[in-house]
């Protein structure tokens, strides 16, 4: 690695000032499990690394029944899946957090970093989209909020401008009779990158017989994580049945715009988009009914 300056600010404003000063020559360090690998691999060089783990706002993990969940951008995965309130109210987030890397990576890697890395296959992103998360961004101007489905703009690229910093992810409180599930397909059981993934959330009618609404997100089938509004629309008002789920799965299959690469083919990925959407929807419905569903 080339040499760079290491700074560890204690506040958001200090962090922003450090980033603004160096523009594209500065990067934010949280867990570093992408950043340090990319730096060592020579993908870019840096003048300054801004370690944000000492900034309180980026370390908060707070649930409130009225406000929902706030996940500081630097909160590592293990804090997500070891938190009882998160596990109780946002099990789909736990599905994602516990399959990012192995134990060593989960001790460091953050959901905020996973989002900012903007990989098409980022495991937390599909779950966050399904759960209607918004990204809270501080910068030289006004603090702004961006829905997570609009955050990634291309592989490795996001809406973050020069000097901007992801502070936290905000998730609304779960709606009554709602459930969510995140699933990933990889050739082994763990420690791999998704060939396809699906994050799904569903809200059921008061008598639990039909879908009120649903959100479906797919990973690794497009240049960015994909929010498939057509799949959700296909379910609104439909009875809870395999036929309804099949309509959403077909919408997901058609929305997928995958590529061939060493992990999978276009055909396989389209097929998987439908299969994972189906399975994740079944899981989301089961959770909405209060049943236990295992992540992986």
């Amino acid at each position: 690695m080339n040499d760079f300056e290491y700074r560890a600010p204690a506040s958001v404003s200090e962090a922003v000032a450090l980033l603004v000063e160096k523009g594209e020559r500065a990067r934010v360090l949280a867990g570093g499990t992408d950043l340090i690998v990319q730096l060592r691999g020579g993908r870019f060089t840096l003048d300054r690394m801004v370690d944000v783990k000492g900034v309180p706002e980026l370390n908060q993990l707070r649930y409130d029944a009225a406000e929902g969940l706030v996940v500081g951008a630097a909160v590592p995965c293990y804090r997500i899946y070891e938190d009882e309130l998160v596990a109780a109210h946002y099990p789909a987030l736990v599905d994602a957090a516990r399959i990012i890397g192995g134990i060593q990576i989960q001790g460091r890697a953050s959901l905020g970093g996973n989002l900012c890395n903007a990989s098409p296959s980022g495991d937390s992103i599909g779950a966050l989209i399904a759960l209607e998360a918004t990204a809270v961004i501080a910068g030289p101007g006004e603090t702004r909020s961006v829905p997570v489905e609009q955050f990634c703009t291309a592989p490795g690229r996001s809406v973050l401008g020069p000097g901007e910093l992801l502070v936290a992810l905000r998730l609304p409180p779960p709606k009554p009779r709602s459930g969510a599930h995140y699933l990933r397909f990889i050739p082994r059981y763990e420690m791999d990158i998704a060939i396809v993934s699906a994050g799904v959330a569903a809200v059921l009618s008061p008598d639990m017989s039909s879908f009120v609404s649903a959100r479906v997100a797919l990973g690794a089938v497009a240049p960015t994580p994909l929010f498939v509004t057509e799949a959700g629309a296909a379910l609104a008002g439909k009875p809870i049945s395999e036929e309804s789920i099949a309509l959403a799965a077909e919408a997901a299959r058609q929305a997928a715009r995958p590529i061939n690469d060493m992990r999978g083919t276009v055909e396989q990925r389209r097929h998987l988009a439908a299969v994972l959407t189906t399975r994740a929807l079944r899981g989301a419905v089961a959770r909405a009914k209060g049943e236990q569903v295992n992540g992986h």
């Binding site: 080339n2 300056e5 499990t33 340090i36 690998v37 890397g101 134990i103």
Partner: protein, 161 residues
């Protein structure tokens, strides 16, 4: 000349201090500055777990931690696993079950397995395999490693009574 950071930290219970550049990893500081070469360099990108240590009790790949981040923290490496009384039950089990061949991955496996058994004294085989997923071994095929961890759990339960 690159700025040097003065890092004061605890390694295996002892306070140590060293100088490092921002670009130096904790792995480099441990091996090259502090001479603690039990922690191994494998892939250098967080896949293999050969460089596993604990930082404030959490397992980490030390190749993905900057040395400067260790300031004020508590590090445990493979060198701190055995006690003056002898090997740790995990080490003893690895030896007796022949859970190693070339040995490069072994320190990482032992540090990871010890952390598991300290949290969960009686894990299932499936749990052990999941927990150790971030440690790769290219020699053994893992079976002997998993058996050694099961065995170590039994030994630790016996000692505890």
């Amino acid at each position: 000349m690159a700025t040097k950071h003065h890092v004061v930290t605890r390694v295996n219970g002892e306070e140590v201090e060293f100088l490092c550049e921002a670009r130096h990893s904790l792995l480099e500081a441990l091996r090259e500055t502090l001479g603690l070469t039990g922690t191994k360099e494998g892939c250098l990108d967080g896949n293999c777990g050969a460089c596993t240590v604990t930082l404030d009790g959490r397992l980490m790949d030390s190749c993905l931690v900057l040395a400067v981040e260790a300031h004020g923290r508590e590090i445990q490496t493979i060198e701190g696993v055995a006690s003056p009384q002898g090997l740790h039950p995990v080490q003893q089990a690895f030896l007796e079950e022949a859970a190693l061949q070339c040995g490069i991955c072994t320190p990482g496996f032992i540090v990871s397995a010890k952390a598991l058994l300290e949290r969960e004294p009686n894990p299932t085989e499936e749990r052990i395999r999941w927990w150790l997923a971030g440690n790769l071994c290219r020699c053994t095929g893992y079976d002997k490693i998993v058996r050694a961890v099961v065995d170590a759990a039994a030994r630790m339960a016996e000692v505890k009574g």
